[in-house]
Symmetry: C2
Subunit: 337 residues, 2 copies
């Protein structure tokens, strides 16, 4: 398997990205080829610094970089030789089987959607992320690939995320919930009402019904299906709310007892480690023909290593093949929905 890594993308690129690739290299077999994409001279400099042997990695030279804050579509149009553009191009020409970036998320998703074809039967790819909760990991799809969502898209997200959760997270017969504003069947807008019909009609989906916002973190389900606008807000909000709460507790402790505050820093670290999404490596762009992993901009070497290993697991478990098979068997058809 050939896994391409955007060496230039992310807050800690290229140093941490390349270090992560090296860590992954140490545990992968020889049948896995890691391809670093970025400025060749810079990559080689970092490889030397990290003590890597020449030839351990293949390098695809990309002289340009898309910045974290650039407008995705415009940047992709202008920077044809950026690491993300060249990475997606390599995937579309089957020069690599998997791609991975901690760079500009919008640009990475757009490039993969544009360049990599969809899996047979998939109408729109969706981004799946794993939320670690007290009751175990919860997969949410879509968190922003598709903001013009139709019922058939949501249905396909349910199928793809189920296959993902059962294979990547070892959850048997994952419980799938549909994000809504209330639990009753009659609740919701047209999108969720029609999606519910689709979900109910597929016996292979373990559909448990509507979810409310509070259910994500309460162990009620393993997979949450929602449209991308909503999922995107959920994802970003969760991160910042967690930050705010730890900050609030930290300052309260500081104002009451400095020793306790110092000790709380350790506790906070331990808790965050327990519910650390970096463990999962990154988000998956489900539905493209290949493997596309989007890492958090703050990713360090460990996350990149985990993301690379996730690419291999994803391929080994034949998740794409299973998705195609499941979609070929379903009786649910779009009919304009």
């Amino acid at each position: 398997m050939r896994i391409a890594i955007d060496a230039m993308g992310g807050d800690h690129a290229p140093g941490e990205i390349i270090a992560g690739a090296l860590e992954a290299r140490d545990v992968l077999g020889s049948e896995e080829e890691l391809v670093l994409i970025g400025d060749e001279a810079i990559i080689n400099m970092h490889l030397n610094r990290l003590g890597a042997t020449t030839g351990e990695f293949r390098i695809f030279h990309a002289p340009d970089v898309i910045g974290m804050d650039e407008s995705p579509v415009e940047a992709l149009r202008r920077k044809k030789k950026s690491s993300i553009a060249i990475m997606a191009h390599a995937a579309s020409h089957r020069q690599v089987d998997a791609v991975l970036s901690a760079g500009n998320t919008g640009a990475c998703v757009a490039a993969c959607q544009l360049r990599m074809r969809n899996l047979t039967g998939v109408l729109r790819p969706g981004i799946a992320v794993v939320f670690p909760t007290v009751s175990g990991p919860v997969t949410i799809c879509d968190v922003g690939a598709n903001i013009a969502c139709r019922p058939i898209n949501l249905y396909q997200y349910a199928v793809m995320s189920s296959v993902y959760a059962s294979n990547m997270l070892n959850i048997e017969n994952p419980r799938v919930g549909l994000m809504n504003i209330g639990e009753e069947d009659a609740k919701g807008n047209e999108l969720v009402k029609k999606t519910r019909e689709f979900l109910k009609s597929d016996p292979k989906i373990n559909y448990i019904g509507n979810l409310e916002g509070r259910d994500i973190f309460q162990g009620k389900c393993d997979v949450v299906v929602c449209e991308g606008f909503l999922g995107n807000v959920i994802l970003k909000m969760t991160e910042s709310l967690v930050d705010m709460i730890f900050t609030a507790i930290g300052s309260e402790m500081k104002s009451q007892n400095l020793l306790m505050a110092w000790w709380f820093k350790k506790i906070a670290k331990d808790v965050l480690k327990k519910y650390d999404y970096h463990e999962y490596g990154g988000a998956l762009l489900l539905g493209v023909n290949g493997v596309s992993v989007i890492c958090h901009g703050s990713s360090k070497a460990r996350t990149i290593k985990n993301a690379i290993l996730a690419c291999k697991k994803y391929a080994d478990k034949q998740i794409n093949e299973t998705i195609v098979e499941r979609l070929s068997q379903t009786t649910v058809k779009a009919n304009g929905q």
Copy 2:
């Protein structure tokens, strides 16, 4: 001013509700009349128990109650003599100026929307809640009154929430943000794109641009405008995520040091008190002709008292009058949007 209180609604009804009404009674002037709605015998029993003087409250007898988990629309159809139905009926016949319930939220909102007319110029009411954040209170509208939202509705939520935040929370020229999936102008679906045009064209709105999920808790804005489906998920999710984090920290502390864990309970209480939405009494159904406050189901006496005082402040500050005036002056017109 006549304020009606649903004595039967909420997890701690009627005891805590009636106790809250008594607390409010103690600080309100004689020109405010409090009306308790519910089973007269039960209300009187509680009033006696709490040592209230007979005649201190007017009572509207309502023999029936809508349960917290009942389907709102169906329950309203069946239970014409429920406290919520009778409360909304009283408001629609101008027997009371404000209504307040900690009961079935869906039923309360539906009854108020159905019975109370809209303010002149308002097309759809929206629910505004105040989130206490590290950087101060943030008002979010709509959190679930309207799940078929048009740009003109979102624009009106911005107008109403601005008036609300400046008068109820004393925020001068509140900064209004539009919930979106990215900061750039070009981001988002048709709903937010058109809404943005509306917001930009009204010089009286201090529109600061798009928000991402992470911005709610980071002091970037005072008012967040979003459609009700999204707002509902945000609201419910926030509550349960806060719970989860405190639980996670608590168990980690317990596993490391029992004394610290005990001490953390106190800290947790102090923090939650600082960011306590009960302070704000409840959510406002903005846009109805009158005052409609929806309290959390878990409300105890203090929250009910604060909610009753909020009704008075809302009327004193002439928020509805200001909203009507602002909407009469705007050049933004629906034109089918």
